[in-house]
């Protein structure tokens, strides 16, 4: 977990392990046994296969990931190897490299590994963020996007970590009560603490030493990749009729992050965040 500096680092590790254990222990075990082949092994593997075979396998991987991405749940490397790659595991790095290229050039998507420890991939849109004006394609909007936006923006504006009560209070003011069934979202608590967490938009971790147990929210890995803080701030400015720069700390965070490409240098943003939080 070197990408992020967190106060409760070990706790988060055990948390994610617990979560993944409850979902699929078998595949985690398999992942442990799968070691990334070295480049020389890959070379040798490639020699034994025809280019057509490798292309075919790459195409299968691409299709698998595309379908898996429908639910926005990250794809595990172990699953990928077990279900699709199978005997071609010696050339796995080459397949992934080619798959990444296909995603970028054909689909305009980016295949990103969001968890280097557990090896999970997500797809992110690679095209430039569209303008605030409505896109020409009228696809139906998902109200959950709105809900997610509210939660993410509160967390962002509050410095990156927020106690769960703050989120629930804010949502209550918007007529969304975690204790009641919402007509759009259904079981709100489940959507926020389970679905969004599983999709890696949010992280829901326990605060130590709290009695009764309380949790806090942070941005998840997918949110780091997908969500533009600058855009959030822009909308904030519109809503409050203020200049986004008036939130200087958040503005700094939003714009240093985006200038050095949000995905790669998360270390930069994290160091930035830690200095501001001191």
């Amino acid at each position: 977990m070197t990408q992020r500096k967190r106060p409760s680092n070990t706790l988060r590790l055990s948390q994610s392990k617990r979560q993944s254990n409850s979902v699929m222990t078998q595949e985690e075990d398999e992942d442990v046994t799968f070691t990334q082949p070295s480049s020389s092994q890959v070379q040798r593997g490639l020699e034994k296969l025809t280019p057509a075979q490798v292309d075919q396998k790459t195409a299968e991987v691409v299709q698998y990931i595309l379908v898996k991405d429908q639910k926005k749940i990250p794809v595990r490397r172990a699953e990928l190897v077990k279900n699709i790659v199978k005997d071609y595991r010696t050339v796995y790095p080459e397949i992934i490299k080619r798959a990444k290229r296909i995603f970028e050039q054909v689909f305009g998507l980016k295949l990103v590994e969001i968890d280097p420890k557990n090896h999970m991939y997500i797809l992110v849109n690679n095209l430039d963020t569209p303008a605030a004006a409505a896109s020409p394609v009228k696809c139906p909007s998902n109200p959950k996007t709105g809900l997610l936006f509210v939660i993410l923006s509160v967390i962002f504006m509050k410095g990156g970590i927020v106690r769960e009560n703050q989120i629930w209070n804010t949502l209550k003011k918007l007529r969304v009560d975690p204790g009641q069934r919402h007509e759009e979202f259904g079981d709100v608590r489940k959507v926020v603490t389970e679905e969004f967490v599983r999709q890696r938009y949010l992280e829901y971790t326990r605060i130590p030493h709290t009695e009764p147990i309380e949790y806090e929210f942070r941005w998840g890995h997918r949110a780091d990749m997908e969500v533009s803080k600058a855009q959030i701030l822009e909308f904030m400015g519109q809503l409050h009729e203020q200049d986004p720069r008036s939130w200087s700390q958040q503005y700094r965070e939003a714009h240093t992050g985006s200038s050095s490409s949000q995905n790669a240098s998360s270390s930069q943003t994290s160091s930035h965040a830690s200095t501001s939080r001191k």
Partner: protein
């Protein structure tokens, strides 16, 4: 614990006060040292005389503990208020705790003191983090208000029915149905979500498998007519033996008719079918007799003693309205019992000459 308390006080946006706590702790340390250095355990240095009295005063101990608990509760209950930058209650709580600590003697009280410290530090941390937000702070309540307006909240005053539908609370008005959609559409640009993959024309239409009702009906039909189907199945299996079976049945019919011509009195069914020499032939006789009954050429009835009797029937096979079926079980034990009971000496139905066993 001393240094922590000191740092906490500095962290507050307050003046630099002289902490009475320090004096308290150093005096305590001095008294402890005295206690250790005393060579004679019986002679207690004069300075500790009052402390010993305090130690033994259970009432005082309880009082201290209860005060600690009150302090802890006050921090927990009034957390929201104490968070506000203008509120200095935390300082007062700490001062109170300092005073209490001077009188702490036992581990129980010290544990409560530690708990209070945890709660107070937590609050202090949050207060400190509030201080460091430069620029203007972010107020989630105002944010929510702005969002509601954006989502098209209709702030009507007389909408009482809709008020019940919503959470109640303070704000009147109702949110339009597409409120969240509106927000989602506006905020979609903040997300670089990969569009999900779907077939343009949808998936193929998979019909459910053909209903299973037909097979159920067939099964039900067959279970009703067990006796009927059994011979049919067997007949099919033994197609080569079909003629043999028919011949057998006719032969048995011949026996039956013959005996009734000779003696029209009722014949016991068991006497008729049982072959005292062979169980398997008995079973075959029963089997063949059942054909007769099925075809309506013979009939089984219960006589006055409730024993089954058999007699041939003169009517046409087709004109049968009152058909009933029964199942005749027989086992070697029953067979032997029947032989003893009915004193059957010889078989009425002679075994055929040719028989493949």
């Amino acid at each position: 614990m001393t240094s922590r308390r000191r740092e906490m006080r500095k962290a507050r946006a307050g003046a630099d006060e002289e902490s009475p706590r320090q004096n308290g702790s150093s005096s305590r340390r001095r008294s402890e040292q005295q206690a250790f250095e005393g060579e004679d355990p019986d002679s207690i240095p004069g300075g500790l005389q009052d402390n010993v009295d305090d130690d033994n005063d259970q009432g005082r101990r309880r009082e201290i503990r209860s005060k600690y608990r009150d302090l802890i509760n006050s921090v927990q209950q009034n957390r929201e208020d104490m968070l506000s930058p203008s509120n200095n209650k935390l300082t007062e709580v700490l001062e109170e705790a300092n005073k209490l600590f001077k009188e702490v003697r036992q581990a129980r009280e010290a544990a409560l003191d530690a708990q209070l410290l945890v709660v107070a530090t937590d609050l202090g941390k949050e207060k400190a983090s509030q201080l460091f937000s430069e620029g203007c702070a972010f107020d989630p309540t105002a944010f929510a208000e702005h969002l509601l307006s954006f989502m098209g909240l209709n702030r009507l005053e007389e909408e009482e029915e809709n008020d019940e539908l919503q959470n109640g609370g303070g704000v009147d008005g109702f949110l339009p149905k597409d409120a969240w959609h509106r927000l989602a559409r506006r905020t979609e640009c903040c997300f670089k979500t990969a569009p999900t993959f779907h077939y343009m024309m949808g998936s193929f239409y998979a019909e459910p498998p053909p209903p299973k009702q037909k097979s159920d009906r067939q099964r039900k039909a067959s279970s009703k007519e067990v006796k009927r189907i059994m011979p049919t199945q067997l007949k099919k299996m033994e197609e080569s033996h079909q003629e043999a079976t028919e011949k057998e049945v006719e032969r048995i019919l011949g026996y039956l008719k013959g005996y009734f011509e000779d003696d029209p009195s009722p014949m016991s069914y068991y006497e008729f079918v049982i072959d005292p020499n062979s169980f398997s032939r008995t079973v075959e006789n029963i089997f063949h007799t059942s054909f007769l009954i099925r075809d309506g050429l013979a009939r089984l009835y219960l006589d006055d003693d409730k024993l089954p009797c058999i007699e041939p029937v003169e009517e046409e096979a087709g004109a049968t309205s009152n058909r009933r079926q029964c199942i005749v079980p027989i086992s070697p034990n029953i067979w032997r019992e029947l032989i003893d009971v009915f004193e059957i000496r010889e078989a009425i139905i002679q075994p055929p000459e040719t028989q493949n066993e």
